[in-house]
């Protein structure tokens, strides 16, 4: 077989493979499709998070949807959101956002497990009880006993330490997430040691 024939065969094979996998993606609803890949490209193959991009798997759909709207409207304005998510949602319509949110919510989440184990106990105490003297609220009250979230209050359990830490710091620095969020008030009194402890604790929760 000449190289030219072989190249032609390879091209044909690629086309056939593409034709075979493409209909499969539509036939099995909820399977990865090209639009999901527009997100998993950064967020990891099964949306468990990749590098600086946080996990989306298992997140509350209502939360994902409000955040996507917030990126689209350029309200959520911390540096990484500006840099990556503003373009990623620039042409994302409300129905598409809702569909993607519903999809990612159904993927079983895996914990990042990347915190400091020694700080986990301290983190748990702050999470469950807050620090009333320092005006720090118990996270438990809103995010739930197992940090699983409810409605548009996000699941925190198992998010990566890097991401949690950045988020908790950014509210105090004046960045926005969604209009009317309680988090700026909640996060402002947190000292960096407390943020570190909370982020460590949360990263291990399944």
């Amino acid at each position: 077989m000449s190289i030219i024939t072989r190249s032609a065969c390879t091209a044909a094979l690629l086309m056939v493979l593409s034709a075979l996998t493409a209909p499969m993606a539509t036939a099995v609803a909820g399977e990865p499709t090209v639009s999901v890949q527009n997100c998993t490209w950064c967020h990891g193959t099964s949306a468990q998070g990749y590098a600086i991009a946080p996990r989306l798997a298992g997140q509350r759909p209502a939360y994902l949807e409000t955040q996507l709207k917030s990126f689209h409207e350029r309200f959520r304005d911390n540096p990484l959101s500006r840099q990556y998510m503003w373009s990623a949602t620039a042409v994302l319509g409300p129905q598409a956002a809702r569909d993607l949110a519903a999809y990612f919510a159904t993927i079983p989440p895996r914990p990042a497990n990347d915190g400091n184990r020694n700080l986990a106990a301290t983190g748990r105490t702050i999470y469950m009880e807050g620090i009333p003297d320092a005006n720090i609220a118990a996270c438990y009250a809103c995010h739930g006993p197992n940090a699983e979230g409810i409605r548009d209050i996000p699941r925190l359990g198992g998010l990566s330490r890097f991401y949690l830490k950045a988020r908790l710091e950014q509210w105090a620095q004046g960045y926005h997430s969604v209009p009317g969020s309680p988090m700026p008030l909640v996060a402002r009194p947190l000292a960096s040691a407390e943020i570190e402890a909370l982020a460590s604790y949360l990263s291990f929760i399944k």
Binding site: P79, Q95, R161, F162
Partner: protein
Amino acid sequence: MEHRRSDRVWSRGGIAAVMAICAAVVLLVMIGGAAPASALPSFARQTGQPCGTCHTSFPGLTPFGRRFKLLGYTTGGGLYKTTPFGNNNGPQQAYAALRDYANRTDGGGAAQSATSSGERGWVPPISMMAIAGFTHAQADIPAPTDPYRPNDNTVLTPFSGFWGGAVTSNIGAFAQVTYNAPGPVSGLSGAPADKFLHTWTWDNTDVRFASTTRIGPLDIIYGITANNNPTVQDLWNTTPAWTFPYAVSNLGSTPGARTIIEGAFAAHAVGVGGYTMINDMLYLEATGYQTLRFGQQNSLGVDPFGAPGLFSGVAPYWRVALEPHWGPHTFMIGTYGMVFNVNPWIDSTFVQGTTGVLGIADRFTDVGFDSQYQYQGSNYWVTLRANYLREFQQLNASFPTGASANPSNLLNSLRLTGEVTFGGDNRFALTGQYFKIWGTPDANLYSVGGGFANNSPNSSGWMAELDYIPFGMGKAPGWPWFNAKIGLQYVYYNKFNGTTLGAQDNNTVFLHAWFAM
């Protein structure tokens, strides 16, 4: 070792011309505004992301850039339809499938038809690139230098056209066609083989199919690559095809010895292989290459005599890389390699008029070890890269014919590179590299006639480059995807082709401006 033929067109001029071009670029930036552009502008149209998402200092890749390549250049997300085909899984279909799913899980609800807002039609993913460069060498080029001056030449070339992007939702391509023109007369061999030098040639090409699946607890990305240069398909900028320096002056001298996998068969061979990424962490690939026949190479604009010969059989290439990542840190450690059985040309000068190869083959076994650490800071990137290549040469053909003096040789190549980039849309990049080439002395391979001293292939030195990358130059009239890079490169040799004596005469200053649109 074979000599790299210099085949790029150089026009007379001076540093003033390049300065003028650089000034024009800066001016364009200032009046430009800030719509994003990417290194390969067609990739930006497709993804909707600025080039800084995928590149630190292009073509150097970020973690997201590596994933974009891994997924076959097919990822969309931009304003423009990704593929020309209506029957493909465009966003609309995908959303429909997801909506279906959502409806089933939360018990119905009328699905609205509104999906992504304002998506536009398909634009062919075509880009163009040109490099203008000014070269000053410490010592003049040997006469005859026509059509150039002995030193301080300015060039506007190579010029490349690209197809970069999705073909279908699973197939994507990066394909380059490049224009070069004859080098200085002193660069020609004077032999009849010079007639195989071409101006237009096919250049780096990588066509991919990629898809994802899940097997038990494993997330799998898998794909097929068809390409024309071993390592052009690799994701890391440690391996030869996409390693620093990204632009080299062809009027400056470069060391004569290099391992075969460092580009000796680029565009002379084609390969097809399979790859997988497991759990976004372990990359595995196996690809087999074969050389194109003499006539095929020639018709693709490649000088067949530019490579050492033709492969006997398939040359296998393998790659394993482990890339753990945590927050803003990614680390990679890997190994790769290739075995080449090469039948040398009977007469690469073409004086005898034959395009045949010897019946016996030299065997080159190239084994590489590489590592990379990359850190994403608030407004900067730090990337450290290391690559070590060890080549075992079993010269079963070259030794009997006298092309080599030893039946077997070793050749090593080491590159240690550090890169820091600052800024987002207007970015500066500072890159430094230590390089070293060393191996067994061989009186015939590394002869005085071939430009070597002491029969030794050894060279070593340092490189430094400062780049200004105005990523944000958007609103160029009519074509909002324009990108440029201005680089000042200095190469310093401790040792050149076997000797420290006069090594510094080869030191080169190369000022270049790089445009993509």
